[in-house]
């Protein structure tokens, strides 16, 4: 799990760097637009593409930290052990969602690669964003699968 958590952190930091990069580019572009009037056309497309990749890269860490919200109202009276068993089942179902997303997004990426799909103004190839989404989705699926079989102990320790 340590290795998976490490990769999840790498993904999150990479995504954070991407977002910070967006802020720098946006600020630079704004300064240019409001001073010389000579701004980068289609910078908003770059923002969209980068944030798309960043959000996918955020997913593994969210699962490591059990950040996806559950409703605990109906099971509040069950024992801790029973709740943990349910949480493991929840992790298994979440894992299947992410492995399914990995598969479909990979196929979607191949489709846009073959059709040379690009953003309208900058001509940024969309397959790059698809490709950057697939590994973090697969990693999230693996993390959830690991939690299904070995529980959340390490995660709780990590959060504390």
């Amino acid at each position: 799990m340590k290795l998976l958590t490490f990769f999840a952190q790498i993904c999150a930091v990479l995504a954070g760097v991407l977002l910070t990069g967006i802020t720098v580019i946006t600020c630079g572009n704004l300064i240019l637009r409001n001073t010389t009037g000579d701004a980068m056309a289609g910078a908003f497309e770059l923002t969209a593409m980068a944030s798309g990749a960043a959000i996918a890269l955020f997913m593994p860490l969210c699962q490591v930290r059990q950040g996806n919200i559950i409703v605990d109202f109906f099971t509040a009276k069950l024992s801790d052990a029973a709740n943990e068993r349910l949480d493991r089942l929840g992790a298994l179902i979440l894992s299947s969602l992410f492995l399914f997303l990995t598969w479909r997004t990979a196929l979607g990426g191949l489709n846009v690669f073959e059709s040379h799909s690009e953003t309208q103004i900058m001509g940024f190839p969309e397959w790059i964003v698809y490709a950057s989404m697939v590994p973090p989705f697969a990693l999230t699926g693996l993390i959830a699968l690991r939690q299904t079989f070995f529980g959340f102990e390490f995660t709780a320790e990590k959060q504390a």
């Binding site: 977002l19 990749a53 959000i55 955020f58 950040g67 409703v71 929840g90 964003v129």
Partner: protein, 439 residues
């Protein structure tokens, strides 16, 4: 299978998954997938999913959300909260319950650069709770104040909840933010009034006023100046037409980071923690988007939401009564469900219903006003028992205060919330007044 049976199956499976602790986003996803596949077959569903993550994550409008979250995280780890609280504590020091009021002011100011309620509650609690306890404030009042104060993070712009509402209903984010300003200020005044009354009516909750209140220093004023500059820059730029809300969020994140670095508060570890905190919040919200998208697509195919809107419209009930009923429903649903998921799930159903009614104002104004009303109930759900997320967050930091005490502590603020909601329900002009000035 009839459309009604399908709708019941979709909702039934979602509730079943949720009840067994499957994450809400995943519950929505699988319930939506069942509904989608039953109506269209596997191939269209699989094809829809090929581009679903890309379509949702790589949209320009939605990129405002991670940027505002990043800005809030830079503010959280950048030591900004401490300066805010010190300034507010000096201003309010001469009043009984002054530190509680100062905490609320700090929450409001922090909320003006953070769009998250939980982040606001947790951040201000970190600096205000020890001070309040040290000065003899009861655990009940201290935790209740901070849990309620946290909701100012979403009541005042920027607000992640409002951004999501704007995207779901295709409304103008700038106008929605403008509409939230006056209600947010009224919320702050209402909460401060609640504290003032509470400390006088219930003895032993707050100490008497110190003989010599702390004096205001230049350092304390300088401490809050950056927040004022960031807020003015971000919202001045957005409303002055210099940049879009997404660009505003980027400017906000950059200036907050620069402020934190100038304060020498942003170590490498805090920088990393800002990213990790952003990761957890943003991923959680966007996964709910993926689940809710599928659920709403499946529901829309059944045509039931449209039929429901037409059916309710034909009852001839007073439009206000329908909105009031929706708000009550939100309060009940919010007691067991996370507010973000609740919005993503129900807005596509309720919004067309509300828009089909005649409130005697333009449709755009109705949409903005309904957004503010929904925001009120979200804030309510964050502190109301049995599951008030903010109360959990604050109580987990205040380890010596029992949860029941914290829930008692939020009661005066909940009364203020109810009064404020009724005020805006009957007088939509209050939130809509400022919108008139936005071009």
């Amino acid at each position: 299978m009839t459309s009604i049976q399908l709708t019941l199956l979709i909702f039934g499976s979602m509730l079943f998954f949720m009840a067994i602790r499957v994450p809400i986003a995943v519950s929505m996803f699988f319930a939506g997938a069942i509904g989608y596949v039953l109506q269209t077959g596997w191939a269209p569903f699989a094809s829809f999913m090929n581009s679903q993550a890309f379509a949702r994550f790589a949209g320009y409008d939605l990129s405002v959300i991670p940027l505002f979250i990043l800005m809030g995280n830079f503010a959280t780890h950048g030591g900004i909260s401490k300066s805010l609280f010190q300034f507010a504590a000096t201003v309010m020091g001469r009043f009984k319950g002054g530190l509680a009021m100062a905490s609320l002011m700090a929450c409001a100011a922090f909320g003006a650069i953070s769009g998250s309620s939980v982040a606001t509650a947790a951040t201000i609690t970190g600096v205000a709770l020890p001070e309040m306890r040290r000065h003899g404030y009861s655990g009940r009042l201290a935790t209740g104040t901070l849990a309620a104060g946290g909701t100012l993070g979403i009541q005042l712009p920027p607000s992640v909840v409002l951004v999501i509402y704007a995207i779901l209903t295709e409304q103008n984010i700038t106008k929605l933010f403008a509409a939230a300003v006056v209600p947010g200020i009224i919320a702050l005044v209402g909460y401060m009034t609640a504290v003032a009354i509470y400390v006088r009516v219930v003895p032993g909750q707050a100490p008497e006023v110190a003989d010599k209140p702390e004096s205001m220093t230049l350092a304390k004023i300088m401490g809050v100046l950056p927040i004022l500059i960031i807020f003015t820059l971000v919202f001045g730029g957005i409303y002055g037409g210099l940049f879009t809300p997404t660009e505003g969020a980027a400017v906000g994140a950059a200036t907050t980071l620069i402020t934190a670095m100038l304060k020498r508060e942003m170590s490498f570890n805090k920088f990393k923690e800002s990213f990790l905190g952003t990761a957890a919040s943003a991923a959680m919200i966007f996964l709910i988007f993926v689940g809710a998208d599928l659920m709403n697509a499946a529901l829309a195919m059944t045509q039931v939401p449209n039929q429901l809107a037409a059916e309710v419209g034909s009852w001839g009930l007073s439009p206000l009564a329908i909105v009031a009923a929706i708000l009550v429903f939100y309060v009940i649903l919010g007691a067991v469900m996370d507010e973000m998921s609740m919005l993503l799930l129900t807005i596509p159903i309720f919004f067309p219903m509300v828009m089909a009614l005649d409130f005697g104002m333009p449709k755009e104004m109705t949409a903005i006003w309904f957004g503010i009303m929904v925001l009120m109930t979200v804030g309510f759900g964050l502190v109301a028992p049995p599951v008030g997320l903010n109360v959990y967050v604050v109580n987990s930091i205040a380890k010596d205060v029992p949860m029941s005490e914290s829930y008692q502590g939020v009661m005066p603020f909940l009364i203020s919330d109810v009064l404020r909601t009724l005020l805006f329900l009957f007088f939509p002009i209050i939130p809509l007044w400022l919108v008139g000035f936005v071009g």
